[in-house]
């Protein structure tokens, strides 16, 4: 009986998931004019993944990750492939909420739900799931997943990133992680393999920076929703293919920019999107913002910019230098609110506001996410001091509050437009 | 008995007249120039410092600080009226000099202006004295190589052979030229153990078979004869052995005096007196010191260096090996 029930739920969830994905993709592609040609690759990638569920090469060893602090260079260096498991599906969220507490973060619910009914490509290929000890819910999710039968590795993260002890602690933590990766995959990390991995990822990040800089264009040449799609594709896509696709997109956008192309009218409010991550298919807020006439020119979320912005640099091409270099890249510039003393996030947001000529900030926090919720006041004050309005939205994956949110967002856009007209 | 004694004396005098003793016995007539007045010849240290030299700076004459006026003393008091002094500048030109008798001694004084480094090098100072004594024309020459150098001027003439090679003056009847007494940086580099080479020149031409005496103030004497090329060489001894290590002064200079003698059978007359032999006596005074390797040690130096390198290397290695074990805890002081 139980098995029958589980099978039924599996099927219905798959259908719901496909419907959700289709709907989001429809909104993204059809509600907006003139999508870049190169985006076609990304749209179809998501389509295939969510409706056909088959993207990854079966022969690869897959290491599942949650949170962006997991160093993918080390995973590539042992010949495995990282797969970011953070899910944005409401269908999975509903599954997860059955066994999770009421007031828990949608993202964790969705991820747990997804893993619970094995709706992940090649679950058998998931050699391990790496969960950094960032926020409470992720930490305990690790425990729950272990009881579900997954091979969990808890990657110990320090709570601060500015002291010498925390830096050394994190480097040691990564060194142990590297050693257990070697055991899991049976391959040693060598100078050459780590160097290749660093070069690969740095190349991908270089292309992402190009896109990041192209979004500074006035007037904008690409919608935020597309940028989210591109970055979200990085979670599961093969890195070479992904780099190739984003390069094509960048080239196309550069051409468009030279010709003075604008994707939206010149007076559209330029928005910075920050807070809890927007992950496909939960692009609810970005789509709402852009449907009401705004354009998200910049974002500070761990599913997009924070994932791909920083790069690794090292001095000597030896493991004793490269591995701490990789460690440093994942700790020091990280502005995840799981760290105590997050002044760097304020500075980065202010710098982005200046660099992108941002008119307003939309701060999304998932209900139950204490970290982002508790930071929003400080961020709001800092932005207010610079004269930038901020809209704080507490939401989750369910589509029920769409109507209410669109009203608030419309009002926010209007106030920004009025402000711009006045000044 | 008494008659025998007189016969002996007479025979002795006849002997002396027929077979004059070797010329060496006449070396007491040498005339030399020195930096110090003749009263305290020999030691040549403190006391009577002239020419802008501050007292208590150490007991070596500062060859590294030039002075505007240089003064040298002759050791004899019976200078002839016809005595002449010559000073050759480092660039080859002649300098004005004054030969006078003051403070109880004959002195040669000249200035080394300009003090801007253009006169960086060796001044050759000569005094030539002629007189006829017992039918012999005795020509005495005293020579001094005076270093005029301040390291502050730089060492820009170090590749200029015209400045660094020793000069001679054709006008001088008998001249001793010391080879390699100083280096290209115009510092005195004569040290115990060096092979000293001297040329004897008569009016600029090398003299064969001249007698040369090399003498240190401690009493070491070496008698040499110049060869066909007018050169003679000898190895300088080490003679500085202080009693206690605390008394050791590495920069202590000993005085080296070289005398050349040559006789020519030539007749003529000089200032109304006839002579049938010419005797030329020439001197050169220089300083020397101990070779650096006498008081420095490679064994100790390298020993200490290698010891410290090994100790620190082992220390680093041990430290790294110990660090392979888990992180050490902070220790607390258990005292109450």
């Amino acid at each position: 009986m139980e098995i029958e029930r589980t099978e039924r739920i599996k099927k219905t969830t798959a259908i719901h998931l496909a419907m959700e994905a289709k709907e989001t993709l429809k909104k993204i592609t059809e509600d907006f004019p003139d999508n870049p040609d190169a985006m076609g690759y990304f749209y179809s990638a998501f389509n295939k993944l969510y409706t056909e569920g088959d993207l990854l090469d079966n022969s690869a060893k897959i290491i599942g990750t949650t949170c962006l602090q997991v160093p993918e260079e080390l995973i590539y260096a042992v010949g495995a492939v990282p797969l970011r498991l953070c899910s944005g599906a409401h269908a999975y969220d509903q599954i997860g909420s059955e066994f999770m507490p009421a007031k828990s973060c949608s993202l964790v619910n969705a991820t747990l739900g997804m893993l619970h009914i094995n709706h992940v490509p090649y679950k058998d290929s998931l050699k391990a799931v790496v969960i950094p000890t960032t926020c409470d819910q992720k930490k305990k999710a690790g425990d729950m997943l272990e009881s579900m039968g997954f091979n969990i590795y808890s990657l110990e993260m320090p709570s601060r990133k500015d002291t010498e002890e925390s830096r050394i602690y994190w480097q040691r933590s990564l060194i142990s992680f590297a050693k257990s990766l070697e055991d899991v995959t049976g391959r040693r990390i060598t100078k050459g393999s780590l160097m290749d991995a660093i070069m690969k990822t740095n190349k991908a990040r270089a292309e992402f920076r190009r896109l990041y800089n192209l979004r500074k264009a006035m007037p904008p040449v690409i919608y935020g929703k597309d940028a989210f799609i591109v970055a979200n594709a990085y979670f599961f896509d093969d890195i070479h293919t992904w780099t190739g696709a984003i390069t094509r997109l960048n080239n196309e956008l550069e051409e468009k920019a030279k010709k003075g192309y604008c994707v939206v009218n010149k007076h559209a409010p330029r928005i910075l999107f920050t807070g809890s991550p927007a992950i496909f298919p939960n692009l609810k807020l970005p789509i709402l913002i852009e449907q009401t006439g705004g354009v998200i020119v910049a974002d500070e979320v761990c599913s997009s910019t924070n994932l791909l912005y920083d790069a690794v640099t090292f001095d000597e091409a030896n493991l004793y230098d490269m591995i701490p270099a990789v460690a440093d890249r994942y700790l020091k510039p990280c502005i995840c609110p799981c760290f105590v003393k997050n002044e760097d996030r304020k500075r980065k947001l202010l710098e982005m506001v200046k660099g992108f000529n941002v008119d307003g900030v939309v701060y999304q926090a998932f209900s139950g996410c204490h970290l982002y919720e508790m930071e929003h006041k400080g961020i709001g004050k800092a932005l207010e001091a610079e004269g930038i309005p901020m809209l704080y939205i507490e939401t989750d994956y369910s589509p029920e509050d769409t109507g209410q949110l669109s009203t608030r967002i419309e009002a926010f856009m209007e106030s920004i437009k009025a402000r711009k007209r006045r000044s | 008995m008494f008659r025998d004694l007189i016969k002996l004396f007479f025979a002795f005098f006849v002997l002396i007249a027929c077979f004059p003793p070797p010329s060496f016995a006449w070396f007491g007539e040498e005339m030399y120039l020195s930096e110090n007045p003749p009263a305290d010849h020999g030691e040549g240290h403190k006391g009577g410092h002239k020419g802008g030299h501050k007292g208590g700076r150490g007991d070596d004459h500062s060859e590294h600080r030039a002075v505007p006026v240089k003064k040298f003393y002759l050791n004899i008091h019976d200078l002839s009226a016809n005595a002449a002094a010559y000073v050759v500048r480092p660039d080859g030109s002649m300098a004005e000099c004054e030969l006078s008798h003051d403070e109880g001694a004959w002195t040669v004084t000249f200035d080394t202006k300009p003090m801007d480094g253009s006169m960086d090098g060796i001044f050759n100072v000569y005094v030539v004295d002629k007189r006829v004594v017992d039918g012999t024309l005795l020509i005495r020459v005293a020579k001094m190589n005076a270093i005029n150098h301040t390291c502050g001027w730089g060492h820009k003439y170090k590749s200029d052979k015209g400045r660094t090679m020793p000069k001679h003056l054709d006008a001088i009847p008998l001249e001793i030229v010391g080879h390699d007494l100083w280096d290209a940086f115009v510092h005195n580099r004569t040290m115990s153990g060096d092979n000293l080479v001297f040329s004897v020149l008569k009016n600029g031409a090398p003299v064969k078979n001249a007698s040369l005496k090399v003498r240190t103030q401690t009493g070491w004497i070496k008698m040499l004869k110049t060869g066909d090329d007018g050169k003679a060489s000898v190895q300088l001894i080490r003679d500085y052995y202080p009693e206690k290590w605390n008394d050791f002064k590495a920069m202590k200079r000993g005085i080296l005096r070289i005398t050349a003698e040559y006789e020519i059978d030539e007749s003529g007359s000089f200032e109304g007196e006839r002579y049938n032999k010419v005797r030329l006596i020439s001197t050169l005074q220089w300083g020397y010191r101990l070779h650096r390797k006498e008081y420095t040690s490679y064994v100790y130096g390298l020993g200490i260096g290698i010891l410290f390198a090994v100790v620190s290397g082992v220390g680093v290695y041990v430290h790294r090996e110990r660090r392979k074990r888990p992180y050490r805890e902070v220790r607390f002081n258990e005292k109450d």
Partner: protein, 339 residues
């Protein structure tokens, strides 16, 4: 992002300037520095063979004990002059001041880049570091506390090298009158004096000098320091530079340097790349997001930090106010992340 096109010539000139700038900013400064160091080493150690003399007031090690030197390190005449400080009323004093002013002028021209690009002892240490890297031996770093304590040593050495020669002079005869062998105390213990002449085939500096107790102690100390120098330079990058009194003397005038390293703190993401590649191990380059002039007393302006910074225009090397080299995103990613 479209640029207006006015006269064709103007655009072409802009293009050329842009391309030159791109070429420089994307360049591998480490490679350039490697070759420049060889050139400077040749000039300073072997320059005498070509009659090159860059003066006696060089703001970098260039030991007078090397017979074929191309110039003299200022610390040597500084100590020598200070040991005659009682004669400073008059010409000697004026000469001292001229030398000091020449030193300061030479220094502020290239600021602390003298250390990173010209100093022959620094070059020797960099070569030893390259050897260690080839051998695959791990390097050592100082902990924060150790670094803070050790960096004070160079000030102590600077004070000593000024006071001891003054003690030799007649300036304060009633209180102290040190033996003449203390005239150049730092030169006697400097590893540059011992190591650099070896490159000219001169090993006469590798001795302990027994002429007096002072000289004996100083030369023995010098050999000991040289022994530790070799091991230290092998395990720590630019080991000696943390203790160098020339560096301390530099820092006094560093603020008025013409060549500057400035940081725009607002662009800094605190990624720490600059700190991680810094040979000397300076934390402030990463942690300080407020100051503009980011040169510390240990900095040797090798500009590895600029090459390692992935943020556009965060770190700037300015000469007379114009940026000569700066951190660019393009440059960083073209270099692939390897400094």
């Amino acid at each position: 992002m479209s640029t207006g096109r006015d006269a064709r010539g103007h655009t072409e000139r802009c293009d050329l300037m842009k391309r030159i700038r791109e070429f420089i900013y994307n360049a591998d400064i480490n490679r350039f520095r490697f070759y420049f160091q060889i050139l400077a080493f040749g000039l300073l150690v072997y320059g005498g063979y070509l009659a090159i003399d860059l003066g006696n007031e060089l703001p970098t090690f260039a030991c007078p004990k090397i017979k074929s030197r191309g110039g003299i390190c200022y610390l040597y005449p500084l100590q020598g002059n200070l040991s005659l400080i009682d004669e400073f009323l008059g010409e000697r004093g004026i000469r001292f001041l001229t030398k000091l002013v020449t030193f300061i002028l030479l220094f502020i021209l290239f600021n602390k880049a003298w250390c990173g690009f010209a100093c022959p002892l620094g070059t020797v240490q960099d070569w030893i570091t390259k050897l260690r890297s080839k051998l695959g031996t791990r390097y050592s770093t100082y902990s924060e506390g150790a670094f803070k304590r050790l960096k004070k040593i160079k000030y102590i050495l600077l004070v000593l090298l000024i006071l001891l020669p003054i003690g030799v002079s007649n300036a304060i005869p009633d209180i102290v009158r040190l033996p003449r062998d203390f005239s150049t105390p730092f030169c006697d213990i400097c590893p540059g004096r011992i190591v650099l002449p070896i490159f000219d085939g001169d090993i006469t500096q590798l001795v302990v000098d027994f002429r007096s107790t002072t000289k004996l102690t100083l030369t023995a100390l010098g050999m000991a320091i040289t022994g530790v120098f070799f091991v230290g330079a092998f395990v720590k990058k630019r080991f000696f530079c943390l203790f160098c009194p020339m560096s301390a003397l530099h820092y006094i005038f560093s603020k008025i340097g013409i060549l500057r390293l400035v940081k725009d703190g607002s662009k800094c993401t605190k990624c720490g790349n600059c700190y991680r590649v810094c040979d000397v191990g300076i934390r402030e380059i990463a942690d300080d997001v407020v100051s503009k002039n980011i040169v510390q007393d240990d900095c040797m302006m090798c500009f590895k930090c600029v090459a390692a910074c992935p943020e556009e225009k965060c770190l700037d090397v300015k000469f007379l106010g114009l940026p000569v080299y700066r951190s660019t995103e393009d440059g960083f990613f073209k270099r692939g992340g390897k400094v």
